[in-house]
Amino acid sequence: MPSLSVSNIIVFFILLTFDISYSQQSDLELIESKNIVIKEFETTRKVTYLFKDNNWIIKYNPVSVLFGGLLYVYQKYISIQIAANCPYEVSCSAFSKQCIQRYGLLYGIPLTADRLTRCTRLASFDLIRGVEYNSRTNKIYDPPEQYNLFQK
């Protein structure tokens, strides 16, 4: 019988907690709609490097390259594969990019961590009360602007 290590328990909790959405379409429907879906996705979503407009020190230092690169790879290649369907109006990855651009890495990364824990099945208990919905997209309105510490 395998021993119960901390790693095994933690991996079990990760699988239990974090939600990877999946499509509810049948295989045939997926194949039929594939071309249209990819075409729409590529035309509406332009993925850019996080520090594209900054000076070269910020643009190419290892920390920026690591965070910016990870976000770029996630948005460009991973989110499209796992059919990620974030319930928020500004999706988690876009929220992270905007927060880092607006507030910097020191405040932007903890805000991203907070958002990631709000985008789980467990946190969906609270999605009914006290949140603002966009009636057009049926998504939760949560822009980075409202996280300004100096705003009343």
């Binding site: 933690i10 824990t117 006290g130």
Partner: protein, 253 residues
């Protein structure tokens, strides 16, 4: 056109009518159209322009209500005070008192609100008994309402991850945050006890992740408490406005 929901057409014709013929009626209809359009500021503006006409009392009531919806409470109170307090028409007097009680309640002036609320005698007119009960309940709710401290939320989260969110009333987010922090703390501790060195790459990676999530937990609790305060304030405000609205709905029949 208004009754057939052709609001745009109605506004078009009202704007092209000669205002010298029946200015008050035109202003009243414009105010009513904007009221149906859910544009309280424009509606209040046109209702407040109605003068010396049999529509004046109705316009003053609706101007006061629309100013309250437009968040211009001092204007709303001013127009509510202008509503005639004749004892012949008891309905107008009751509406006036409800509007004033609601407005003062929105401004957190409990003594003034209580004064007008207590002076209403709902037994005179049975139609207003529900409004009277609701307004009294909202008065008690608003009086007991206390803002939660975002800094207390931060402090709680610093000791037990997620507890600040629990304090804000968000159980799911609290559980999620607690589990995430426990996971990364567990990884970090395991990495340390395996390597017994702070230079271990696993320790650096998971230690950093734990730091981000722990800091995010504290900052997130601050924002969660702030959001919850705003949301509850907005909810009570909307309930008060809806009660004021239901008090005035009888005059629109």
């Amino acid at each position: 056109m208004i009754t057939n929901n052709r609001i745009n057409h109605s506004l078009y014709y009202l704007n092209h009518l000669n205002p010298d013929i029946a200015e008050d009626s035109i202003n009243f209809l414009k105010g009513y159209t904007y009221y149906l359009f859910k544009k309280p500021d424009s509606s209040a503006f046109f209702f407040s322009k109605v003068q010396n006409n049999h529509l004046q009392t109705k316009s003053q009531i609706l101007a006061s209500l629309n100013y309250a919806y437009a968040n211009e409470l001092s204007q709303s109170i001013q127009y509510a005070h202008l509503i005639p307090s004749d004892t012949i028409n008891s309905e107008t007097l009751i509406i006036k008192k409800f509007l004033l009680a609601g407005n003062y309640l929105l401004q957190n002036q409990f003594d003034s609100s209580n004064y007008y609320l207590k002076s209403v005698n709902p037994i005179i007119n049975y139609k207003y008994q529900n409004v009277y009960t609701n307004m009294n309940l909202l008065f008690e709710k608003q009086k007991k309402f206390k803002l939660k401290s975002p800094f207390l939320g931060m402090l709680m989260s610093a000791f037990v991850p997620g507890s600040g969110k629990l304090y804000a009333g968000r159980k799911g987010e609290a559980m999620s945050m607690f589990v995430a922090n426990i996971i990364f703390a567990g990884f970090t501790l395991e990495a340390y006890y395996r390597s017994h060195s702070f230079k271990s790459p696993t320790l650096i990676v998971f230690g950093s992740l734990f730091t981000f999530f722990y800091t995010g937990n504290i900052i997130g609790s601050y924002h969660a408490v702030k959001r919850q305060n705003l949301s509850r304030q907005k909810q009570i405000k909307n309930e008060i406005l809806a009660t004021m609205h239901s008090a005035t709905s009888n005059i629109l029949d």
